[in-house]
């Protein structure tokens, strides 16, 4: 029945096999033999070959789920015939199945070698067009994990220069990934060279040159990559490190600012963190630091850098900054993760004391607490919290107890520093 289906069926998609620029429709070659009506039409039931492949796949899946990797490998010997299926619609999914199952089994077999991986990757790469880039990427990751940096780099270089027909959007994205990882590998080689340089007493010019070459390769590619909106955290850190090594701080700051403040990029709090860390490393004035942290506070009020932010605000001379510090700290404490943190509470105590020294301090505190006074007592000042805090640190208990009355005036709170009668 399959033979007849192939003779009479509709033309199928051949994109995977042929040149995608070939758009001419295939001529249907009419069979010369008179076809008799099939005596026993069994309908669109599965062919024996497909049943075999399906059953084999079920056995492989069962074996893999139960971690019987040896058995899975044995069934794979019989399963590879699925690649010769004449049904072109199934060609792509079958290739992906074989690729992924084979690599998974190889991961778990104790006696698999790098050679086996290479065979699988090379063969599956060249079996078709759609998966080439992904398999290249996976292959290079694998080599990276096994410490073969040069090999990984070579794989990616080959992949980078590979072109086939029109570049689709998904291929374009993969090309970007490949470019990014290649620059990462350049950076890793650069790091290697840098560490060997620092250990050696004699610095040869050629070593410097080689290092610089890698730096150039990496930076060219990274500049290109970083123009595209996306989350490029590991890559940007490498780039900045290299630039700092060569003393190009301006460029580094520019890159970081672009990454953090470009609106076309997705919001990424890490970007602000990187800017802040860079500025701190290079002893920037406090005003600049405060400015960066303000942006971060809007994005992530519970970030750990908020503590530093509040210290900075406390130390600044502007009066409005103290109020801001209060706001920042209260927002931090809205989150349960800071509940038992002594530093935060101590800072809050310092801020409130400073505020209360002023005339309108109490009003300021009230203003910030209006939204919170309904639920803060339950969040921080119950007798249960008192017990827990007493166990943890008596200092915490003291600090919190002193703040309880200030922040939530007029409420009969059970949070005291005194021992509860047992």
């Amino acid at each position: 029945m399959d033979a007849l289906d192939e003779l009479l069926g509709p033309p199928v998609d051949l994109e995977d096999e042929s040149d995608s620029s070939d758009n001419s429709s295939r001529k249907r070659h009419k069979s010369k033999l008179p076809l008799a009506k099939p005596l026993c039409a069994e309908g669109q039931t599965e062919s024996g070959f497909h049943k075999t492949c399906r059953t084999c796949l079920e056995h492989i899946r069962e074996a893999m789920l139960h971690h019987r990797w040896q058995e899975a490998a044995e069934y794979m010997v019989s399963y590879t015939q699925v690649l010769e299926d004449r049904n072109k619609g199934r060609a792509l999914p079958n290739k992906e199945l074989i690729w992924r199952i084979s690599t998974e089994i190889l991961h778990h077999l104790s006696h698999s070698t790098v050679k086996d991986y290479n065979i699988i990757y090379e063969r599956m790469k060249h079996s078709g067009v759609k998966h080439y880039l992904m398999i290249c990427l996976e292959h290079s990751f694998h080599l990276m994990l096994h410490g073969q940096i040069e090999g990984a780099k070579q794989q990616l270089s080959v992949a980078e220069s590979w072109r086939h027909g029109k570049v689709s959007s998904s291929q374009h994205q993969r090309h970007k990934l490949i470019q990014a990882y290649r620059s990462l590998l350049d950076y890793m080689i650069w790091c290697d060279k840098k560490s060997t340089l620092s250990t050696n007493n004699f610095v040869f010019d050629s070593d410097n040159q080689a290092m610089h070459t890698y730096f150039r390769h990496a930076s060219v590619n990274l500049q290109d990559i970083l123009k595209n909106p996306g989350i490029w955290d590991p890559f940007i850190l490498c780039y900045v490190e290299m630039l700092e090594f060569y003393g190009d701080n301006e460029e580094a700051l520019k890159v970081l600012n672009d990454y953090a403040y470009d609106n076309s990029f997705p919001p990424n709090p890490n970007a602000q963190v990187y800017v802040y860390q860079f500025l701190k490393r290079h002893n920037a004035p406090e005003k600049k630091l405060i400015k960066v942290l303000r942006n971060l506070q809007i994005l992530v009020p519970s970030h750990e850098l908020m503590l530093e932010y509040s210290y900075l605000l406390l130390q600044s001379e502007k009066t409005s900054d103290t109020e801001k510090a209060l706001g920042v700290l209260l927002e931090m404490l809205d989150f349960a993760c800071w509940r038992s943190n002594l530093d935060v509470w101590t800072c809050l105590k310092a801020v409130t004391h400073q505020l209360l020294l002023r005339e309108d301090g109490e009003m300021t505190v009230c203003k910030h607490m209006t939204l919170r006074k309904d639920w803060w007592p339950a969040l921080h000042f119950t007798s249960f919290h008192a017990e827990k805090d007493r166990e943890e640190s008596s200092k915490l208990l003291e600090v919190k107890a002193s703040l309880a009355e200030i922040l939530c005036p007029g409420r009969a709170l059970k949070y005291t520093a005194d021992e509860m009668p047992t």
Binding site: M1, D2, A3, L4, E6, L7, E17, H29, S31, K32, L33, L39, C40, E42, S47, G48, F49, H50, K51, T52, T55, C56, E58, H59, Q70, A73, E74, Y75, M76, V77, S78, T80, Q81, L83, E84, R86, I98, S102, I105, L106, L109, H111, S112, D116, I119, I120, R123, M124, H126, S127
Partner: protein
């Protein structure tokens, strides 16, 4: 066809890669070559239908007569299935003399065969003039066996186990049973329970093996199949990829997974010897006696079981209706369903076909030509003879189709 399909499936008869048997000079080119590209082994039913169609189309002359010596005749065929299913049946006696011993199952099958008018060779020999329908010999023989088992053991989920318990009681006490029963004190009695346990275990193993064989079957021949130059290029490329990955896994797995090649055999099970030794499925029960289920009654050997059940009849249009097995199956006794499945597995057919064949045999035994509307059949037994009583007056017709 009896074991032909099985031989094809096991690869002993070239079918899937038949094109490899063609001489070198003959090149398969073009779309017509796809006729040689096989991806399915046809089912029992489709082969039977096509054979029937060919028979009529080619206007074949009468086939050689199917006598009791021919293997296609129900008598020897039943014996073969008995042996394969590990049921009592003395091969030597039946083959040569056709006067089997009084306590063997095969004798009962022959009695039933006579009753259903199926012993005559003319109803099995295909002749376009008198008998144009190609009989499914294997289904008929298996159905006869099943009906015999139904007569002797009841197969209603109660009688067969009751008989087994009774046997065991008498056996262990070594007490002669009531008068007019046969004496025995040997342990060579056939026990339904023991047989069921043995065969069920073997059946489960065989089903698993068959499932694994399906999974491991190789459909692609040594030579790559292609229809034209372009096809050849892609086919060879795919073959290379497939082979290199296969080699990789062959190296990694300790034993290469190949379909177990046990040599062609028309028998599915292998009985005899200890369990598991020499590849046997278990001890043979062919020599056991049926004394536990038959008795001597007024000089005749009679089955001890007096009951016979039949699924409800209903009016049907044979042209539009196919098998009712799907609806009836949940209401049937489990022993009967299990026996159907056992033989369905042995013959590699679907259970519903066997069920229909059983109904057909029962129809022949009871003398009814085809299911007719509103007919009620009551069966009465009296000392080894069977009598029929009908609610409507009808002529007694012989069931010769």
């Amino acid at each position: 066809m009896i074991s032909g399909l099985r031989l094809v499936k096991d690869g002993h008869v070239p079918y899937v890669t038949a094109y490899e048997q063609l001489p070198e000079e003959m090149k398969l080119v073009g779309q017509e070559a796809l006729f040689f590209h096989v991806e399915t082994i046809p089912s029992h039913r489709s082969v039977h239908k096509e054979a029937q169609g060919l028979l009529l189309f080619l206007q074949l002359p009468a086939f050689p007569p199917v006598s009791q010596q021919t293997l296609l005749h129900p008598a020897p065929l039943c014996l073969r299935y008995l042996t394969d299913a590990n049921l009592p049946g003395n091969t030597l006696t039946c083959r040569t003399q056709l006067v089997p011993q009084t306590d063997q199952l095969h004798r009962w099958v022959c009695v039933l065969m006579e009753r259903a008018d199926m012993a005559d060779e003319s109803c099995h020999t295909v002749d376009l003039a008198s008998q144009p329908d190609l009989p499914a010999y294997d289904l008929q023989a298996a159905a006869l066996l099943i009906v015999t088992m139904k007569v002797l053991f009841g197969l209603d989920d109660q009688t067969e186990w009751y008989l087994t318990r009774l046997n065991w009681i008498y056996q262990t006490r070594l007490v002669p049973r009531m008068t007019q029963r046969l004496w025995f004190c040997s342990t060579e009695l056939f026990s339904f329970r023991k047989w069921y346990r043995l065969v069920q275990a073997a059946l489960t193993r065989a089903q698993q093996r068959r499932n694994q064989d399906i999974a491991r079957k190789q459909w692609k021949g040594k030579n790559v199949f292609f229809t034209n130059k372009r096809d050849k290029h892609f086919a060879i490329k795919k073959r290379r990829i497939s082979e290199s990955i296969q080699m990789c896994f062959k190296r990694l797995s300790s034993q290469p997974a190949a379909v177990q090649d046990a040599g062609p055999s028309s028998f599915l099970f292998c009985w005899g010897g200890e369990d598991g030794s020499n590849g046997s499925d278990g001890p043979g029960l062919h020599h056991l006696k049926l004394d536990g289920v038959v008795s001597l009654n007024r000089g005749f050997v009679t089955p001890w079981n007096f009951k016979y059940w039949h699924p409800p009849l209903r009016p049907c249009n044979p042209r539009t209706c196919s098998s009712h097995y799907g609806e009836l199956e949940p209401t049937l006794p489990r022993s009967f369903v299990w026996l159907l499945q056992l033989f369905a597995f042995m013959l590699d057919v679907e259970a519903w076909r066997l069920f229909d064949a059983v109904l057909e045999v029962e129809r022949r035994v009871f003398g009814v030509k085809s299911p007719q509307s509103g007919q009620q059949i009551e069966i009465e037994e009296n000392a080894g003879k069977w009598r029929r009583r009908r609610t409507r007056t009808e002529k007694q017709t012989r069931t010769q189709s």
